[in-house]
Amino acid sequence: MSALSTPVKGQFRRARARQAGVTGVLALLIVVLAVCGLAFGKASVSPAEVLAAVLGRGDAMTEFVILELRMPRMVTALLAGACLGLSGAVLQSLLRNPLASPDIIGVTNSAGAAGVVGLIAFGLSGLRLTGAVLVGTLAATTAVYLLSRRRAGHQLVIVGIGVSALCVSVVSYMLTRTDVRDAQEALVWINGSLGRAGWDTSLTLAVCAAVLVPVALAYGRRLSVLELGDDPAAALGERVGRTRTLLLGLAAALAASAVAVVGPVPFVALVSAPIARRVTGSLALLPSALIGAVILLASDLVAQFAIPGVPLPAGVVTGVVGAPYLLWLLLRPAFRL
């Protein structure tokens, strides 16, 4: 850093302070949303009672509702949202395309196809469904990777779109081949729902996230070097090919573990990073992950109560919650991507 002139240093420091401030605000928002998620439901509970139940001092009924029903749901939303947001941020930076998201390299749609086939053709549920989707998603993503010869951005993306289109058509075909009631249930799954989240699935997700998120955050620092372009990055001593492969793998694994549990929630991965970039002013991985968590937590809350009597899947709401915000960002002056 000593080589940098003073104004640049100042700018750098301001950017870091801004990022820290944003991170703090987002963390606070997550806590508020999490408490709301625990407190609201068919039987609403006051925040004080939530605290008592979490500390093990509430009555048995409240404790059951909060710890066994709402807590795993909240944890799943938090972790899945963070994984998706992080995955999208890494991919968009890596592939230098604002449209890039786990959909683009085939993660989300192959998860959708694996899930619908598992649900409709094999009648799977719970942990088995999660496992099947994880395997299917990773297999499809590996196929995309192996099929794209140079593993560079452009080619990978186009092969990914091809595989995605194939998976989408498998889904719509499966939907026309079955009883309308089963098809409607599959529709809930395709849109990403937290309704089936239990401790078993959320623990699976927690283990995956505990391994992947720190590695992704640590390696993610190299993204800003890669963003300079291949040759400058190599000149700075970066092993471009290896780093890129590793980051791609991380992004795919993050998205795969999230969608295996909650289903292919749309939009979270796509929208988190542009929002984070707007509020922090630079590429920001941790804020992207937090924004992903905020979007999914808020969407799940809205989804549960938007239409009385019909619990919507959270994925239905992510679009409605995320889209106006992205549009508002676009309409603000001086929007930079």
Partner: protein, 339 residues
């Protein structure tokens, strides 16, 4: 256009002829192949000396002919819209669906089914109106956001945002209305079965107008490909070209979606095929796409009639199943060519 390399007229024109031949072959197959296999001379007789009393003639003229013609118009619309869309956004990932055309049409159709109980032919108008309204909305948002007119990035993001919101609303309606979902799941997969001449006459004007405008702005699209500043420097009216390009996408893609349902992959894949065959000049890629798109759609439709006899696979499913490997091969071939 002085900046583009001198186009090789001969080989490109030959390629165009070959594609036209392929289209004729695909159309002939589409007329001849089906649950009721007919010998070629019967098909020919049905077309030249139509006898309404002959059941074979009836099948060809009343069922397969409109189906084939709707396939041709829809394929042309999707493919040319794909080329224009990729030129407009300078993004190889751009799909006609990107301007929210498909989701706008879906929402409109689901409202038609769920709220107004519209059946059959009336849906075409709803699909087209939905596609057009939403595209205008997206383009308007992107123009305001991009200030000097809709820039590629704002267009892409605004399209993705609106599309996500609309898809959410569609799903919410489908989850609360089982009867509508039961009809919608068959519309959404995209198919050419049971299309009659009425559908053709409803959608043909939009497709024809869209194609003419697309061909008219092909020089302008070439300019956009070189970057906005260069295009301005060459004296082109960038804003006008962009607005006309968006209008083309509405006309072409709205009509095609109205005719055949949301077939999402055809535009993308044909745009890539056309660019590979004809190079970067839109004056050639647009005619190439206009022939390759219908060929692909008809070939896929015929394949869908053959593979799961006596049932049928909807053309949208087959397009993805055929197109995905094709796209992979294409990308890999191009890579080999570079080495």
């Amino acid at each position: 256009m002085p900046i583009l390399p001198q186009t090789r007229f001969g080989p490109l024109a030959l390629g165009l002829l070959a594609l036209a031949a392929a289209l004729v072959a695909a159309a002939a197959l589409s007329l001849a192949v089906g649950a009721n296999a007919l010998p070629p001379h019967t098909v020919w007789e049905a077309l030249t000396q139509y006898d309404p009393a002959n059941p074979h003639h009836l099948v060809v003229v009343e069922k397969r002919l409109p189906r084939t013609l709707v396939g041709v118009t829809a394929g042309l619309g999707l493919a040319v819209a794909g080329v224009v869309m990729q030129g407009l956004t300078r993004n190889p990932l751009a799909d006609p669906g990107l301007l929210s055309v498909n989701s706008g049409a879906s929402l409109s159709v689901v409202v038609a089914i769920s709220v107004f109980g519209v059946q059959g032919g009336g849906r075409v108008w709803f699909a087209f109106a939905g596609a057009a309204l939403v595209t205008v909305l997206v383009y308007g948002i992107a123009s305001v956001a991009g200030r000097g007119g809709a820039s590629p990035v704002t267009l892409v993001l605004a399209g993705a945002a609106v599309s996500a919101a609309l898809t959410s609303i569609v799903t919410a309606i489908l989850l609360t209305d089982r009867a509508a979902f039961d009809q919608m799941r068959f519309w959404q997969v995209g198919g050419l079965a049971a299309r009659d001449f009425a559908v053709l006459w409803q959608t043909l004007p939009g497709i024809a107008a869209g194609f003419v405008i697309a061909f008219g702005i092909s020089r302008g699209l070439n300019g956009l490909a070189m970057g906005e500043e260069v295009a301005r420097g060459l004296g082109q009216r960038v804003g006008l070209v962009r607005a006309l390009a968006a209008l083309t996408v509405v006309l072409l893609c709205g009509s095609a979606t109205a005719a055949a349902g949301p077939i999402s992959f055809a535009g993308l894949i044909v745009a890539h095929v056309a660019a590979r065959l004809a190079g970067p000049d839109h004056r050639w890629t647009i005619p190439y796409a206009a022939l390759a798109g219908p060929t692909l759609l008809l070939a896929c439709d015929v394949l869908g009639r053959v593979v799961v006899r006596p049932g049928e696979l909807q053309v949208g499913v087959v397009v993805a199943a055929v197109g995905a490997p094709l796209l992979v091969v294409l990308v890999r071939l191009r890579e080999r060519g570079r080495r």
